[in-house]
């Protein structure tokens, strides 16, 4: 009798347990649905501005400003691209070229000088290391944008206002990148350095042949971040590029928002053209960019 009751109880308990699991599975499914719904809605919101740029860039002005919303141009206006580049009042072609030169040279220069200095600070012990490192770290205390007025003074004294070197050269020296390279090279295994020495490498050889090839991921990560930063920068090119010949693509676009003399589809085509190179870069190098963001995030 007791045994049977015990069995019955056991059975009821199992049913309850199964029910609980089924319920929690229902909860789990519901949770996943909510999560993915949230993701899809957010993704659509995030993609909306990209869509707007392309839609407007390929429309005619009356179509774009019509009161009836249309999702896509009746006839895709690829001519807007030619209009943009042949517009004598908008130096878009030279703006793109300037931006490409500036972003490339700043990226290469920053990486080269910062990695050289980072290697020296980490792997060549002299009595100057601490002082030099202190001078590098001190520059990190001051946010870059605040220094634009003092920096302008030096550039104007060098006679570099409205020149590309005026925009490029002051931004070639990154204390932050140097800091990251130093941290990286500090963790470089001593055995590898010793092996390099046995093979007859001096300090330059160790830097060029060993350290540099072994820190390529950091190079790409910092490189892409730096390229995006200088391609998208506005304040510094705005201060230095006072003549249209030295305008970057951002300055050109910014000028035409304010001027409002330009065709709206042309303006959006300009925005599209300015974004495209970076979006391509992004899609190909995303893994490295994520790494770079995490690096710069950790720095704080």
């Amino acid at each position: 009798m007791d045994a049977m009751r015990e069995q019955q109880r056991q059975f009821l308990r199992e049913i309850a347990e199964e029910d609980r699991i089924r319920k929690s599975q229902h909860m789990q499914v519901l949770r996943l649905i909510f999560i993915h719904l949230g993701l899809i809605v957010s993704a659509l919101l995030f993609l909306l501005p990209f869509y707007i740029i392309v839609r407007n860039a390929l429309m005619t002005q009356p179509e774009m400003t019509a009161f009836n919303w249309s999702w896509w141009a009746k006839q895709t206006q690829w001519e807007n691209l030619t209009t943009l580049f042949t517009d004598p009042s908008a130096p878009m072609g030279s703006g793109l070229l300037n931006s490409a030169i500036i972003a490339t040279m700043e990226t290469v220069g920053q990486l080269l000088f910062a990695s050289m200095a980072g290697f020296a600070l980490a792997r060549i012990p002299t009595r100057w290391n601490q002082a030099a490192f202190f001078l590098v770290v001190l520059t990190l205390m001051v946010p870059g944008a605040v220094t634009f007025i003092p920096k302008y003074i030096i550039v104007s004294q060098l006679g570099w206002v409205s020149t590309l070197q005026g925009i490029i050269v002051p931004d070639l020296f990154s204390g932050f990148a140097c800091f990251l390279f130093r941290q990286m090279y500090l963790n470089f295994p001593q055995e590898l350095e010793d092996a390099g020495r046995v093979d007859g490498l001096g300090y330059f050889g160790l830097y060029w042949r060993l350290s540099l090839p072994n820190s390529i991921p950091l190079f790409i990560a910092l490189g892409v971040i730096s390229f995006i930063g200088s391609w998208n920068g506005l304040l510094w090119p705005l201060v230095i590029g006072q003549d249209p010949s030295s305008w970057t693509v951002q300055v050109v676009l910014s000028t035409f928002i304010t001027a409002q003399t330009i065709d709206l589809p042309e303006l959006f085509m300009g925005a599209a053209v300015s974004i495209l190179p970076l979006v391509i870069l992004f899609l190909f190098l995303q893994r490295y960019i994520v790494e770079g963001v995490v690096h710069s995030g950790i720095q704080g």
């Binding site: 993701l39 590098v136 951002q250 928002i257 992004f282």
Partner: protein, 321 residues
């Protein structure tokens, strides 16, 4: 056979010794040379384009420097006094404070939310991450074009106005309207779109560093609900990441310039002018480098102070990273 070998051997035997006595310097000297050859370019660059400008600017801030960088009239602390009591400079700091009070917590919460969502996604995780991250590639200028000329266009064909038109609300001139200050909505949303993905990535990295077995242990201990695990495991373990994100957000808010310049320019730019924009106008609109420099050193002081205080508050540095 052996004699030429011998002769070859003896000649260098004597020569290098003599040469090395003349040429060889201590190893420490060679090291110093190598050090400066590699360190030199950056050190020189920082000297010319950071330290000298900072000192020069600092000196200028004590002079009357209208349209000149070689001033002669020493005015002591007058520029600083003028800037501190300058109504527009004060307003720009108020603008920053309002902006930061809203944008810092909002970006923090939303980017953490996005990171949690993406982390919990069971399919297309990489796709969602890319979509949220992609705006990081877009410049403030290009985004301002979309926001000002299309999304928040004050005319009836602007997307927002069409949206509220569905509910029978009359079009609002988002950028030009001062009362109520709708332009804040424009400024804040453009920054959110551009920044959220960046901070989401940092949070994701933090989330992926949390050991899985902690969650399993919590399950065993009966912490079933998502909120409980977030409250007691995820959020405490994201402490260091959270501190970094807060500091980065605050510094970014301090340096806000682009979207204010692009969205409000040509209209009511003076209604919301962050400090950097005001200093830009003082230095390059009015060519007043004395006040401009005084202002930028005041601002630098405020930023450094803020970062230090924030660091102290959250115990930055004593972290167990």
């Amino acid at each position: 056979m052996s004699s030429p070998v011998n002769s070859v051997d003896t000649v260098p035997d004597t020569l290098p010794i003599r040469r090395s006595k003349r040429r060889l310097r201590p190893a420490s000297w060679r090291r110093t040379m190598a050090f400066w050859a590699l360190m030199g370019p950056l050190a020189f660059g920082l000297l010319i384009f950071f330290y000298i400008p900072m000192v020069w600017g600092f000196v200028l801030s004590f002079f009357q420097a209208q349209s000149t960088v070689f001033p002669t009239v020493f005015v002591g602390l007058d520029n600083y006094r003028a800037m501190v009591s300058d109504y527009y400079f004060q307003q720009s700091l108020v603008t920053f404070a309002l902006f930061a009070l809203f944008i810092v917590p909002t970006t923090f919460a939303l980017s953490l939310g996005l990171a949690l969502l993406v982390n919990a996604a069971s399919f297309l995780q990489g796709f969602f991450r890319s979509v949220f991250f992609l705006p990081t590639a877009v410049s403030y200028t290009a985004a301002s074009i979309v926001w000002r000329m299309s999304l928040f266009n004050g005319l009836p064909y602007g997307l927002m106005n069409m949206l509220i038109g569905f509910f029978g609300v009359a079009p609002i001139s988002w950028v030009a309207s001062v009362n109520p200050p709708w332009y804040w909505l424009v400024l804040v949303t453009v920054r959110l779109w551009l920044q959220l993905g960046f901070y989401m990535i940092i949070f994701l990295a933090g989330l992926q560093d949390i050991p899985r077995n902690l969650y399993e242990a919590a399950m065993v201990d009966g912490a079933g609900s998502g909120w409980m695990t977030f409250r007691h495991i995820t959020f405490p373990l994201l402490r260091n990441t959270s501190i970094s994100v807060l500091i980065l957000l605050l510094i970014a808010a301090f340096q806000a310039f682009d979207e204010f310049y692009n969205i409000l320019s040509g209209g009511n730019v003076n209604v919301a002018r962050p400090p950097l924009l005001y200093l830009y106008q003082v230095s390059f609109g009015q060519q007043d480098f004395g006040h401009g420099n005084a202002g930028s050193f005041l601002l630098t002081g405020v930023i450094v102070l803020f970062t230090l205080v924030q660091g102290r508050l959250f115990g930055f540095g004593s972290s167990d990273r």
